[in-house]
């Protein structure tokens, strides 16, 4: 039990995908204008990340490794991720048209979110079991959603503040997220 908690804590906070590993920066800058759409994006990415890490683990352990096709790993993972994202897009379009509108282009762009492929490849690299790689995917998605939510909240307040003209818009967002990254560096002292 404590091992599970430690793995979750270390993937979500200590080795945060966005702020420590610098994966999946595009949606963090793109969909963080409002907390609502950031939450929706976080949920969609969580869904894709978990499905993709489970599916890619199964394919890698039951198909690629027995056949000695390790060199096809990236190709296979991209294929699976693209299909899962396509499915998620259909699902969101059907169940929540408002969220579909607010996510816009960033929903199909989860395909190229390197956090998804990165987590799938890291699972293979660290030779996790199926349960552990699911946990790893969930922890990474948790960290991603957390950063997205915090950053969206910060940006909503910065939008109301009087920012110098030269910093308005994207520059102040970059400064904000770098400060957030500095704050997350503090978790590396946790020693888990």
């Amino acid at each position: 039990m404590s091992e599970i908690l430690l793995l979750l804590l270390s993937t979500a906070l200590v080795n945060n995908v966005v702020l420590i590993k610098f994966l999946g920066l595009c949606p963090v800058m793109g969909v963080s204008k409002s907390v609502d759409s950031a939450f929706g994006m976080g949920l969609a990415t969580t869904f894709v990340l978990m499905l993709a890490s489970a599916a890619s683990w199964m394919l890698d352990n039951w198909l690629l490794q027995p056949l000695g096709l390790g060199y096809l790993r990236i190709l296979t993972f991209i294929l699976v991720i693209a299909s899962v994202v396509q499915f998620t897009e259909m699902f969101v379009k059907k169940t929540s048209p408002g969220l579909y509108q607010s996510l816009g282009i960033y929903l199909p762009l989860i395909t190229t979110n390197c956090a998804v492929l990165g987590v799938a490849l890291l699972n293979v690299q660290q030779e996790f079991s199926l349960f552990k790689s699911l946990l790893y995917g969930f922890g990474s998605a948790l960290g991603f959603t957390l950063v997205l939510l915090i950053f969206a909240g910060l940006r909503e307040r910065v939008a109301l503040a009087r920012v110098p003209a030269a910093f308005a818009g994207a520059p102040v967002a970059f400064i904000t997220i770098s400060l957030l990254a500095l704050a997350f560096m503090g978790f590396s002292g946790l020693n888990v």
Binding site: L79, F87, K94
Partner: protein
Amino acid sequence: MIAAILSLTVLGAILGIALGIANKFLKVEGNPIVDELVDLMPGSNCGQCGYPGCVGAAEAIVAGTAPATCCPPGGKALVSAIAAKLGLTVDLSALGDDGPKIATVAEELCIGCCRCARVCPTDAILGGPKQIHNVFREACTGCEACIEKCPTEALVMKPVPVTLQHWVMPKPRLA
């Protein structure tokens, strides 16, 4: 080698079939009238109507917030088609439209600056830097986006020229 090809092919096929089935169950029913109007429209999303693209304009026309005459590139032909589809009565005489027009390049004025080619939504303008441009008649939708970009006024709207491929026999008229 064969195992690699086979496994990827089978994987792709399975995922494709699964997505196809999911598409059937998760299909979103759009407004069929909007879809029909989108099919009638130029589809170049030039934005002259003030709506985000042709789909937005079609939705506004169906909702009644935009007039059927809001599409300048579509001209009279589009207005009458929309009016027939929606059962509207539209005053066509208010439209200063004398037949469909497309952009043409005056070769003696063109300096090959490429500004027109960059804004063309249908990629209908041919030519590289410092080369005289030309317009593909079949691809031009007459949206006039390029006209104001031309620094030498070499682009002008002209009625669609009649060529051997385009000529149709005029319908018989009452004397």
